[in-house]
Symmetry: C2
C-alpha cells in the first residue's frame, strides 16, 4: 500500500515535470530588434538608446548618460499568441525613492482595440525576474497589434518577446503609431517620466497613444539645461513640431543666458516647424518653501521674457503654455512637489495636446 | 602668502563647521506620540499599528502581520517652525515592484490652508536616510496646522518630528480631522493604498482630507477575505459608516460562503450604522486575460446576490456601489491592472464620497 502510494506520487511528479517542460518548450522568444521600433529620434547603433554616440559629442556627460536610458522607446508588433512574455537585460540595478521599479526598469504593454490603445499589463522587475516574465496570458487567439514600452530610467541591452511556439509574431501591417507626424519633446525629468507609475504614463507616451503620432522623448532628468550642443542636435532631429519643456532644470540666470539663442538657433535651422515652449510646472512645495517659490517664478519670468523678445523680433510659429494651465490647482498632481504622478501626466497631456493640434493645424 | 591662504582656508572651514553644528543644534525633535493621532480604529499598545494584539486573536496571520503596518495613520500638530524634519524607524526594508519607496516607507506632509488640506512635501526613504530627513524649509513663521501620513506598507516603531529649537510644536487646538464623524473602510490592497504615489494618496486618506472625517484604513493587502474574526472585530470599531471594499481578494466561492453572514453580523451588531458595499474594481488585465475577467465577474455576481438577498430579507441602510462607477473607462487608472494609481484613487474617492455623504445624511 505504501509502495503504491509512492509510485503514484512519483508518477504524478514525473507527469508534472513533463508538463512543465512542455509548457516552457511551447514558448518561442523573438528578438525585439526584428520588430518595429517607435519613439526614436534617429537610428542608433545600440537600438534601445535614445541618441547615437556620434550625436552626443559635445553634450554634457549627464545627458550622454541619460540618453542611454530607453524612455519613450516602444516596440510594435502583431501576434495571435494567447500569451506574451519578455526577457530583457538591464545594465544596472536602479533605486529611486520616487519611482516604482515597474516604471524605472519594467515594461508596459498596450494593445490596439477598436482603433484605440488600451492597457494590457506590465512586466515587473526585480532581482532575477527579468528572464522569463509573464505579461499576459489566457487571451483569445485573434491577431492583435501590441506596443511594449521600455524602461523610463534604465537602459535595455537586449529584449526578447516570448509567444506561443506556433503563434505568428511580426511587424504590424498598419502600425498604430506612425511617422506621418512626429513630435519631438525636449525637457527634464517631467518629460523623461518621473514619477509615472509605469513607462506608458510618461506624458510623451500619453500624447503618442492619443494621437498615433510618433512622439520622441528627449527628457533628461535634471539635465535639460539648453546647452548649445542640445540645440545643434535638436535641429537635426526630424520633427513636425518641437515641444520645449526645459525650464525646470536651468537656473533663472541660465534661462536668461541660454534660452534666446537656443530657441533662435532651432527656429533658424528649422524655419517652418512649430515650436511649443512650456513654462515649468510650478513646484508644489514652492507654495511653502519661499526660496523654491521665488526661483520657480523667476524661471518662468525669464522664459516669458525670451518668448516676448522672440515675438517682438518677428519670429513666427512659436507657441507658449503658461504654468497655470499645466497640472490643475488642487496640488495633488505630484509625488514630491515637482515630479508628476499619473494624475499630473494626464493633466499636462490634456494641456499640451490642443496646442500641438493647433500647431500642426489638425483637428 | 601661501600660509595666509591656508589660514584663510582653515578659518573658513572652522566657521563652516561651527555654522553646520549650530544649524543642527537648532533642531529640536519631539516624539510624535505626544501629538494627535488620527486614522486609528482604537487605541493600541504600539501606537503606530492599526490593530491591538488583544483584538487580532483569531485573525489570519497575514492580517495580523499587515495590521502592524501604519497605512492610514497620520499625526496632527501645529507649529510655527519654518522647517520640518523627521526621524522614523522602520522594522524592515521593503521592496515592492509596484510601489514607490516614498509610498511604502516614507512620510507625506499636508498643511491646513484656508480651510483645506494642501500638500507640502514628502520624507523620502532609503538606506540610512530616515534619521534626519528634511521635509520642508524656508516657510514663513506663522502658526500652521500640519498632518503627517505614515508609511502605507511598512511599520513605524518610532517617529520624531523636528522643528526649530525656538519654535512651538503642539497638538492642534482645532484639529482639521475630527472624530465627529468616523468612516471605517475594510478592504484589500486597494484600501491599504497600493499603488498610491505617496501615503496621502490612498483613497481613505483622500476621503479624510475632503471631508475632515476620521477615516480608518483597515486595508489588508491580499488578505481581506471576510473571515468571521474580522466581522467580530469590525463590529467593535466605533463608526458612523462602514465601507466594505473587500471583494478583490476572496474567491467567488468564498464570497458566496462568507459575505452574507459577514454583513449580517455587522448589521445586527451595529443596527443603525450605514454599510456601503463596494464591488471589486474590474481588473484591467481582465479585459484580455479571459480567466481573470471571468473571475472578477463572478466575484461581483456573488456579492450582488448577497446584497439582493439582504435587501429582500429587509435589512436596511445598506448601500451598494457597482464596479462600473469606480475608476472610469479609459483603462488608465491602474499600474498593473488591479492596483490603482493616484488617477484611480482620485476616481474611486469621487465615486464613494457621494454615497458616504448620502449614508450620513450630509451635504
Amino acid at each position: 500500500m505504501k509502495i503504491a502510494k509512492h509510485k503514484l506520487f512519483f508518477t504524478a511528479a514525473i507527469l508534472l515535470m513533463v508538463h512543465s517542460v512542455r509548457s516552457q518548450d511551447s514558448i518561442r522568444y523573438v528578438d525585439a530588434a526584428t520588430l518595429l521600433m517607435t519613439g526614436k529620434a534617429k537610428t542608433t547603433d545600440s537600438i534601445y538608446q535614445r541618441i547615437d554616440t556620434v550625436d552626443t559629442k559635445g553634450m554634457p556627460p549627464a545627458v550622454i548618460n541619460l540618453s542611454k536610458q530607453s524612455a519613450g522607446i516602444a516596440v510594435l508588433f502583431e501576434t495571435n499568441s494567447t500569451l506574451i512574455r519578455a526577457k530583457w537585460n538591464l545594465p544596472k540595478e536602479v533605486y529611486m525613492h520616487n519611482m516604482t521599479p515597474i516604471a524605472h526598469s519594467g515594461l508596459d504593454l498596450y494593445c490596439m482595440k477598436d482603433g484605440k490603445w488600451q492597457f494590457v499589463g506590465v512586466a515587473r522587475t526585480g532581482k532575477g525576474v527579468n528572464q522569463n516574465q509573464l505579461i499576459v496570458h489566457h487571451m483569445d487567439s485573434s491577431m492583435k497589434q501590441f506596443m511594449l514600452y521600455l524602461p523610463l530610467y534604465n537602459g535595455v541591452s537586449e529584449l526578447q518577446i516570448g509567444v506561443q511556439n506556433n503563434a505568428v509574431i511580426q511587424q504590424p501591417g498598419k502600425p498604430g503609431v506612425n511617422k506621418a507626424k512626429r513630435v519631438v519633446v525636449y525637457g527634464s525629468s517631467v518629460v523623461q517620466g518621473a514619477s509615472a507609475s509605469r513607462p506608458g504614463m510618461a506624458y510623451p507616451a500619453i500624447l503618442q497613444r492619443r494621437t498615433g503620432y510618433d512622439v520622441i522623448n528627449l527628457g533628461f532628468s535634471g539635465s535639460a539645461k539648453m546647452e548649445p550642443a542640445l540645440a545643434t542636435y535638436l535641429a537635426t532631429v526630424p520633427a513636425d513640431c518641437y515641444v520645449l519643456d526645459c525650464i525646470p532644470n536651468p537656473s533663472p540666470e541660465q534661462i536668461r543666458e541660454r534660452s534666446y539663442s537656443f530657441i533662435k538657433y532651432l527656429r533658424e535651422h528649422q524655419p517652418t516647424i512649430p515650436i511649443i515652449v512650456v513654462e515649468t510646472v510650478f513646484r508644489q512645495n514652492g507654495y511653502w518653501d519661499q526660496k523654491v517659490g521665488k526661483t520657480v517664478k523667476e524661471q518662468n519670468n525669464e522664459i516669458r521674457k525670451t518668448f516676448e523678445r522672440l515675438q517682438k523680433e518677428g519670429y513666427k510659429n512659436i507657441y507658449y503654455i503658461t504654468t497655470d494651465k499645466l497640472i490643475g490647482n488642487d496640488h495633488e498632481a505630484t509625488i514630491d512637489g515637482i515630479h508628476l504622478t499619473d494624475v499630473g501626466f494626464m493633466r499636462i497631456a490634456d494641456a499640451i495636446l490642443p496646442v500641438i493640434k493647433k500647431a500642426l493645424k489638425e483637428k
